[in-house]
Amino acid sequence: MAKYMLLIFGDAAAWETLTPAERQALEAAHADFRAAAGPRLRGGEELESPSVATTLRARVDGELLLTDGPFLETKEGLGGFYLLEAGDLDEVVKLAGMLPEVRAGHSGVEIRPVVDHG
């Protein structure tokens, strides 16, 4: 078994302008995904908009530097994540294919294997 991070990227503006009915459909689809994943689901959250992100770096002299905004200033940002445990990539692809963000047009799901330190 191996762990995979599912990173849900998309256009924050599109997410913020969902109608209540669309929002409800989105949440129902996520509930279906979580039910299908069952015990393979190891965690996951929806994130607030990238516009309220704070990025932390240090200057050469070691002083902390805070920047208002996400690390990558792109139109599409990280909207949420899941941590899954699965046997192989095909199993993850099959589950992640249920996520509504895969078909929304402005968004997509990046699958990243988690480093196994075991």
């Binding site: 191996a2 192989d88 990539l89 692809v93």
Partner: protein, 409 residues
């Protein structure tokens, strides 16, 4: 060393490499280790066979040696408490068709996994399934050897760390997965059929490897209509190879080719495969339609006596299901052959706005040909100059230069 042994090893490499590697991968679960061990097994054959004689079943001998080497290495690694191999799931997944329970198919489906980029799929397939050296794969795709080595390493690393499974797909995924494999084989074939750069128009090494792959797939999945159609397409197109370039290395168009040089056996095989594929599948796929077009050409007594109505009809079907600017271009050419040069020019007209065709030399060349037929020599010369500016293949350049000088006079 006797030439016989060298030839026997070369033949075994061509025929058995995929089986030797594929079995070793399943046993040791590590693609890179299996690759090294398969390589070593063939090297060992070169030193052992001269004394022992060529074994009755060279493939079994080579597989045994590769497996033993892999086992020894795994034991050594375990002793040094090194990390265990990462590659996973060698067992037959539940639901996989028993007919697909073949190590070579597992290897092919792993190399052509949709999570890998197309160029990585093709490079891996040539290296791991066909057994080409990294240098040979680099030459096939016109990149340097270090670049190709890095590309192969990255792809193998992704298979291991993302855990791309070593198995044949489940029935519900089979169609799509076979489609990817066929795209890869077709890419290798077209790369060999029209080298984009360099002195030779044809790369027979690549054509032969693509045909080998097609035959292997057909052997392993005889009932798959798309596999049969793609092999038919390759056979029908490559049947014309000997007639495509003249003695001086000049490219010959279909209309100029000496049809007696076409390989009648390959055409017969291709047509038979196509007929069988069409019988199996009520809705012909992309490869079946392309093969059908190639078959119409293959069976036509001459260029002018070609059934252009049928060619246009087949291109219409192809365009409806798989629209692409290049297919639209070919359809326009066939339409011009059916209805005359002005109809051809009219059909080409809207395509000149397509950004995908903006740098495509065949569009200008096709326009030039119809302008010639219409007697518009000045316009034709300009169109040939345009095509020349866009092509870098030396054989094709020479061909276009010749056409240009003939319209100027």
């Amino acid at each position: 060393m006797s030439d016989d042994v060298v030839a026997a090893v070369a033949q075994a490499h061509r025929r058995e490499w995929a089986q030797v590697l594929a079995t070793t991968v399943r046993e040791c679960g590590d693609l890179s280790l299996a690759e090294e061990c398969a390589q070593s097994a063939f090297e060992r054959a070169l030193t052992v066979w001269p004394a022992s004689g060529v074994p009755a079943r060279p493939g079994a001998w080579l597989t045994q040696v590769a497996r033993n080497l892999a086992r020894d290495e795994l034991r050594r690694r375990a002793a040094f408490r090194q990390r265990l191999p990462l590659l996973v799931t060698s067992a037959v997944a539940p639901g996989v068709d028993a007919g697909l329970d073949d190590d070579r198919l597992r290897l092919i489906f792993t190399c052509c996994h949709p999570a890998l980029a197309r160029e990585a799929q093709a490079a891996l397939t040539l290296r791991l399934v066909c057994g080409l050296s990294t240098a040979e794969v680099a030459r096939a795709f016109l990149v340097s050897e270090p670049t190709m080595a890095a590309r192969l390493t990255r792809a193998k690393k992704k298979i291991a760390t993302a855990r791309i499974p070593y198995r044949s797909p489940a029935p519900e995924d089979l169609g799509a997965r076979v489609g990817v494999v066929l795209e890869v084989v077709q890419l290798i074939f077209t790369t060999g059929h029209s080298a984009p750069d360099g002195p030779d128009l044809l790369r027979h090494d690549l054509l032969d490897r693509a045909l080998d792959l097609g035959r292997l797939l057909h052997l392993l999945m005889p009932g798959d209509p798309d596999v049969g159609a793609q092999l038919a397409l390759m056979l029908l197109v490559s049947a014309r190879s000997a007639a495509r370039v003249d003695g001086a290395g000049r490219l010959l168009l279909l209309s100029e080719q000496d049809r007696s040089l076409w390989d009648a056996d390959a055409i017969a095989q291709g047509v038979a495969l196509l007929v069988a594929s069409l019988r199996r599948s009520p809705a012909p796929g992309r490869f079946a339609l392309q093969a059908a077009i190639a078959a119409v050409h293959a069976e036509a007594p001459s260029w002018t006596a070609t059934d252009w109505g049928e060619v246009v009809r087949l291109y219409d079907l192809l365009l409806a299901g798989w629209p692409s600017p290049v297919v639209a271009l070919n359809r326009a050419v066939a339409l011009g052959m059916r209805d005359g040069p002005s109809a051809g020019l009219a059909a080409l007209e809207p395509l000149s706005c397509s950004p995908a065709l903006a740098a495509y030399p065949y569009l200008s060349a096709a326009r030039a040909d119809f302008l010639c037929q219409a007697g518009r020599w000045v316009d034709a010369a300009m169109a040939y100059e345009e095509a020349l500016a866009l092509t870098s293949n030396e054989v094709e350049r020479r061909f276009l230069l010749e056409r240009l000088s003939s319209v100027r006079s």
